[in-house]
């Protein structure tokens, strides 16, 4: 399949649009249909498409095994950090309302939800990509 010019060209054209759409779905989670889980999976699907059309090494140059591990922990850390921030503002865990009340910024509640959705998206994208790396890597060298 690696010699097929049509598939390679179409994938090269489609991947940026898939990634833009994924970011749109993540950012649009608070105001329309969308969210971190869906956007993260769409973003990971662009890497899966690259792995199918080119090969594993090509995709790994974009985001390596180390990158997926760091990203999967980073997303959870963002979510956890927002929760801890709410405790620091004398609220319950993930009680976003107290930060909005303390700082007096309107719609901060919605922005914090966007931040949490972005964290979910990063984790889902990294975990899906990492699973595909391990499943596509049967018999070859890993790392």
């Amino acid at each position: 399949m690696r010699e097929n010019v049509v598939i390679r060209t179409v994938v090269r054209l489609a991947v940026p649009f898939i990634q833009i759409f994924a970011l749109y779905v993540i950012v649009h989670g608070a105001s329309g249909a969308g969210g971190g889980f869906q956007g993260g999976v769409v973003f990971a699907s662009s890497f899966i498409l690259m792995t199918i059309a080119f090969d594993l090494a090509y995709t790994r140059r974009r985001i390596g095994s180390r990158g997926t591990m760091i990203c999967s922990a980073l997303g959870i850390a963002i979510y956890e950090g927002v929760g801890i921030l709410c405790i620091l503002y004398a609220g319950n865990y993930l009680e976003y309302g107290v930060i909005e009340a303390a700082l007096g910024i309107p719609h901060l509640h919605g922005y914090l939800i966007d931040l949490v959705e972005a964290g979910i998206g990063i984790t889902v994208m990294a975990v899906m990509t990492s699973i595909i790396y391990d499943m596509a890597n049967r018999g070859g060298r890993s790392a």
Partner: protein
């Protein structure tokens, strides 16, 4: 064996179609699910959370702790796949 499997599939399928009769009509405002918590979320979620999407308001704000657990489940699944498939001869 295949006949038994077909029989089992048909049996379960008939039960499921039988159960569909008891489901509320699509978008029925008088259904059991819409009368209690559903109406409360529709009335209050914008005042409570301040975002338009009720689903995201429930997911990230009312049920924020639950969603955190879901993300941890996905993270654990990814780590498990790494531990099982990326051993490189160890173990």
């Amino acid at each position: 064996m295949r006949k038994k499997a077909l029989l089992a599939v048909l049996f379960i399928g008939i039960i499921l179609f039988w159960a569909v009769e008891d489901m509320p009509a699509f978008g029925d405002p008088e259904s059991r699910a819409a009368r209690h918590t559903g109406a409360m979320y529709i009335e209050r979620s914008y005042a409570d959370v301040g975002i338009d999407n009720i689903v995201t308001a429930i997911l990230a704000s009312y049920r924020g702790f639950d969603t955190f657990g879901e993300v941890v489940v996905i993270f654990t699944a990814g780590m498990s796949v790494i531990l099982l498939l990326r051993r490189e001869g160890r173990l």
